[in-house]
């Protein structure tokens, strides 16, 4: 049976790991390669690196980091943050990233999803969607949730799947940083309407939230950051708890 995945997310700025609370205040949580190796050792199923730096040197620094991570760990990882072209993706995959995640660039140029899927295969194209509820409608947002678009979450999710995305990483901005649970209703609806894997993000604070998102939320994977980085939940303990609740999980 295919197991549910637990995915720590490492926010990267200038080669270092950081994590914002509600995407604003940044705290330093260490060396990404070391942290990645630790997570692999603890049986994390996958990792996501999100580059939030915005300097000229950025692309090169990120490619170097990807190479170091690929050298150090033997589990899959996804790289995202500011990726906007076929060339950007090619550099990251060549350096050893397994998947890339695109967000704003896909909204600005939906055709990019088709191009990437055709060139590299759907399996390595993750489309990240940040959304929050406005007047009871889920609206897609850009720039870490600061800029609303006109896109409806569910319509956009369907479109990215149709264009060839291999996976959706859905972050609820309403839940992110709250540690009060994932956006399970919206997650379940996405899973019901489209046929590619969905990663739940935003709101994981305790093992029960993960159990809920894998059952009620029908998520294929769950992503979290600070609760793992600051040791509030250990991955082995979390996985044990999930297993005890009959969730298919790799121990």
């Amino acid at each position: 049976m295919l197991t549910k995945r637990i995915i720590p997310c490492l926010d990267i700025k200038d080669g270092r790991t950081v994590k914002g609370v509600n995407f604003v205040n940044l705290r330093d949580a260490g060396d990404p390669v070391e942290l990645a190796s630790q997570y692999a050792e603890q049986n994390a199923d996958e990792l996501v690196f999100l580059d939030i730096s915005a300097t000229e040197q950025k692309r090169k620094t990120l490619a170097d980091l990807v190479r170091k991570v690929a050298h150090a760990i033997d589990i899959p990882f996804t790289v995202g943050g500011g990726i906007s072209s076929v060339d950007d993706v090619e550099v990251l995959l060549k350096n050893g990233a397994d998947k890339v995640s695109i967000n704003s660039a896909a909204v600005k140029e939906p055709e990019l999803i088709n191009k990437l899927a055709a060139k590299f295969g759907s399996q390595c194209i993750v489309v990240a969607i940040d959304a929050k509820q406005i007047n009871e409608r889920w609206i897609v947002h850009l720039i870490g949730g600061k800029v609303p678009t006109k896109l409806d979450l569910f319509e956009w999710a369907k479109e990215v799947a149709d264009r060839g995305a291999g996976e959706i990483l859905f972050t609820s901005m309403d839940h992110d940083g709250t540690k009060a649970g994932f956006a399970n209703k919206a997650l379940a609806r996405i899973s019901e309407e489209i046929n590619i894997p969905v990663i739940a993000s935003g709101g994981g604070g305790e093992p029960k939230h993960f159990i809920d998102t894998f059952t009620h939320g029908k998520a294929d994977a769950a992503l979290a950051a600070s609760i793992f980085h600051f040791g509030e939940i250990s991955i082995p303990d979390l996985k044990k708890e999930l297993k005890n609740h009959q969730i298919a999980i790799r121990i």
């Binding site: 049976m1 295919l2 197991t3 549910k4 995945r5 692999a40 049986n43 199923d45 996958e46 190479r67 690929a70 050298h71 033997d74 589990i75 899959p76 995959l93 060549k94 350096n95 050893g96 990233a97 397994d98 055709a118 590299f120 295969g121 759907s122 399996q123 390595c124 291999g166 996976e167 046929n195 590619i196 894997p197 294929d220 994977a221 790799r250």
Partner: protein, 195 residues
């Protein structure tokens, strides 16, 4: 030991190179016939789409070379699928080493299958020191059906061939280079398998 990774532009092979380096093997990426023929082990990687990959093999004549190889050969993911008789992906004829067709998963499961799934009914020295029910990392939309060459099964909607073997030819659907310690053990086994 000389290990060659067959170079036909098959996407990301960096992780595979690194995984072999962790086993102290420096693999060479090559499309050169003599270099491939002289290798002790040949790995046929693959990520991407079947018909364009097959076209690249035909353009370089590697489609004729690979089935003739006498040393242990390991196809990974799309590499394994291309070693089969036919693929629904692009409706292409494969190398025909394994006499089994490759089909697309039904839409009663999410496609692609992405993540860690269990190997069952394992047989072959390729799985030495790997327990039955071990998890491996998979990303794929197409699968090889069960057949007489099946040496490991996985269940995703239905049971399919997660690994195949015929004589010196081995194929695995999962990514050993991404499958943690068990994956590393599998690569180690392949490097040390009797040829």
């Amino acid at each position: 030991m000389k290990v060659v990774l067959i170079d036909y532009g098959a996407g990301n092979i960096q992780s595979l190179k690194f995984a072999l380096e962790r086993l102290n093997v420096k693999a060479t990426l090559s499309a050169d016939k003599n270099e491939i023929l002289e290798a002790d082990r040949v790995i046929f990687p693959g990520v991407g789409e079947a018909s364009s990959a097959m076209k690249k093999l035909k353009d370089t004549g590697l489609n004729l070379l690979i089935p003739e190889l006498k040393q242990p050969v390991l196809g990974i993911c799309l590499g394994m699928q291309l070693m089969c008789s036919h693929s629904e992906e692009g409706d292409i004829h494969g190398l025909g080493i394994f006499e089994v067709p490759v089909k697309r998963f039904n839409s009663d499961v999410k496609v692609p299958q992405m993540g860690w799934n269990m190997l069952t009914n394992i047989k072959s020295a390729l799985f030495q020191n790997i327990r039955d029910n071990e998890y491996m990392y998979l990303v794929h939309s197409y699968y090889a059906a069960l057949c007489k060459e099946t040496i490991a099964q996985t269940k995703y909607g239905l049971n399919y061939s997660c690994a195949l073997q015929k004589d010196n030819f081995y194929g695995v659907q999962f990514h050993p280079e991404k499958s943690s310690k068990a994956g590393s053990q599998l690569l180690f086994n392949f490097l040390n398998i009797n040829s």
